[in-house]
């Protein structure tokens, strides 16, 4: 997905906009076509400016111009912000503006997906499997909660309205479009599966991005392939440093887990999207995957007897065996606490960030409401930086704790071997 890929996608979007615009003008009306074209033009401008900005940043082996990058960064926000203000002020239909805005994303995704489908990658299929697994568990949890919510009836609705603020996403807009009208069945379904669909979208984004990065396999890699390789290389070294050489088979799992969680966390900052990790069902499903995987590693690497011996605190003498009776329930309970602790931490932090963003977006809109402005002051900008940092840190903590749990479950002899190997070769772990 290099610069030429994006240029091709933007050209294709422009062509699709013209065709859709003409079709809309003929079938609906001229204003709908205008709104669609304006939304698409805004989105194309956004992508083109992003491309300029990225091209000016220096990558390995590519000279950039930091001054020009800073200039583009300082121009991009105000230009797009003012353009957005006038588009909304012109009284164009927000629904068609959003549809136009989303066209470029649809074109990029479909193009990348179609090129990737020719060469399916095993690792990306694993990410999809993890997403489906977590989605299934999340769905089961939601089903359990459904009768309880139905019983609460009106109270539930009232509570929802007075609940924590959240930024609107595509589903919210779709619901708003059908306000006062009978809601179609597909919208009910989309609303019910909202978090699962966003979690799947995160998996698709990862598949598309890394599938595209892996595809060219150029001798002299481009900036995109370079960045992807540097990121994956860094993650590989980082997790291998914690797991040690015997933990090499588990690096793809924890690396994919971190990328998947960070993608989900950052989705909350993208307009019209929602972070699926603000649902405890999603985070618990992920923690459950970790729990099952860690127990599987424990049983396969230690054997069933060794696995139970590990839970008894690995006693070696009579006193040790005596205290094993006390330690066994503590260890078993600790093992069940781990997924609960993992899921609650991720859910709480990401929900908190999203609420903070929603509060400051609301505050920005309220500040300018006296001039009847269709857009608000961007008061949330400093918190976007904070959210991106927290999203990364939370993904890192989740994946790192998973590696620690795996290390705790690995046979102890390997640990000592590894430790001794390291004493003689201090650089081996960082660069195997």
């Amino acid at each position: 997905m290099g610069s030429s890929f994006l240029s091709g996608s933007l050209r294709m979007t422009a062509l699709a906009t013209a065709l859709f615009g003409l079709a809309l003008a003929a079938s609906v009306d001229g204003r709908a076509a205008l709104a669609f074209a304006a939304g698409s033009a805004w989105s194309i401008l956004n992508f083109a400016m992003w491309r300029k900005l990225v091209n000016q940043l220096s990558w390995r082996g590519h000279d950039g111009n930091p001054l020009r990058a800073a200039l583009w960064a300082s121009l991009k926000g105000p230009i797009l912000y003012v353009a957005g203000y006038f588009l909304l002020r012109a009284g164009l239909s927000p629904a068609w503006l959003v549809a136009g805005f989303g066209l470029v994303f649809a074109v990029v995704t479909l193009r990348a997906l179609s090129s990737w489908l020719i060469t399916p990658q095993g690792a990306t299929a694993v990410v999809l499997a993890v997403a489906l697994c977590s989605g299934g568990v999340a769905r089961a949890q939601e089903h359990k909660a459904a009768p309880h919510e139905a019983a609460q009836g009106q109270h539930a609705e009232e509570h929802k309205e007075s609940g924590a603020p959240e930024l609107p996403n595509i589903v919210t807009y779709l619901e708003a479009m059908y306000e006062g009208k009978p809601t179609p069945t597909w919208l009910h379904l989309v609303k019910e599966w909202e978090n699962v669909l966003y979690a799947l979208l995160a998996a698709i984004i990862l598949i598309v991005v890394f599938g595209s990065a892996a595809k060219p396999k150029a001798l002299i890699p481009g900036p995109f392939q370079n960045a992807a390789e540097a990121l994956l290389g860094g993650l590989h070294d980082f997790f291998l440093g914690v797991l040690g050489p015997s933990g090499k088979p588990y690096v793809p799992f924890v690396g994919s887990l971190m990328l998947y969680i960070v993608t989900m966390n950052w989705m909350g900052m993208v307009p019209f999207l929602k972070s699926p990790s603000t649902s405890l069902n999603t985070t618990f499903a992920l923690a459950l995957c970790v729990f099952v995987y860690v127990q599987y590693i424990g049983i396969t690497r230690n054997g069933l007897a060794g696995y139970l011996y590990h839970f008894a605190g690995q006693p070696k003498d009579a006193i040790g065996w005596g205290s094993a009776v006390l330690l066994f329930p503590l260890e078993v309970m600790g093992e069940f606490i781990k997924p609960i602790s993992l899921s609650c931490r991720l859910f709480g932090n990401i929900l908190g960030e999203d609420i903070l963003l929603a509060v400051f977006v609301g505050l920005g809109v309220t500040t300018l409401s006296f001039v009847h402005s269709p857009i608000g002051l961007p008061l949330q900008l400093p918190f976007l930086v904070l959210s991106s940092l927290f999203g990364l840190v939370q993904g890192l903590v989740f994946a790192l704790l998973t590696t620690v749990y795996i290390v705790m479950m690995l046979p102890h002899d390997h640990e000592h071997e590894h430790h001794e190997a390291h004493a003689s070769e201090p650089h081996a772990a960082a660069h195997p």
């Binding site: 390995r60 540097a230 860094g234 980082f238 600790g334 602790s341 890192l396 705790m408 430790h419």
Partner: protein, 91 residues
């Protein structure tokens, strides 16, 4: 991005290991408050549910609360041990 490193230094391996080591420690240590809070809470919830089910109030609640405290402390100690092992390995 944290993983992009290219600046020439005297010992890039050492610097990279130090940076990773610091990040690892910070991330793992940030989990410790959770280990101290979540187990007793889960213990209380589980104990209360079992007490209601078997009409044994308040004994199972007390047992699981103590188990929760115990497993929280044990998890914390094991995590700290793991962090110090990692630190030793990085030296």
């Amino acid at each position: 991005m944290i993983f992009f490193t290219g600046s020439p230094v005297a010992d890039p391996d050492k610097e990279e290991r130090d940076k990773y080591s610091l990040m690892r420690q910070a991330a793992v240590l940030s989990a410790i408050p959770g280990f101290l809070v979540v187990p007793p809470v889960v213990g209380v919830l589980l104990g209360r549910w079992l007490d209601q089910r078997f009409h044994t109030a308040p004994w199972l609640l007390l047992v699981f609360l103590l188990l929760g405290f115990g497993s929280g402390v044990r998890l914390t100690v094991r995590t700290l041990k793991q962090v110090s092992e990692m630190q030793e390995r990085d030296k």
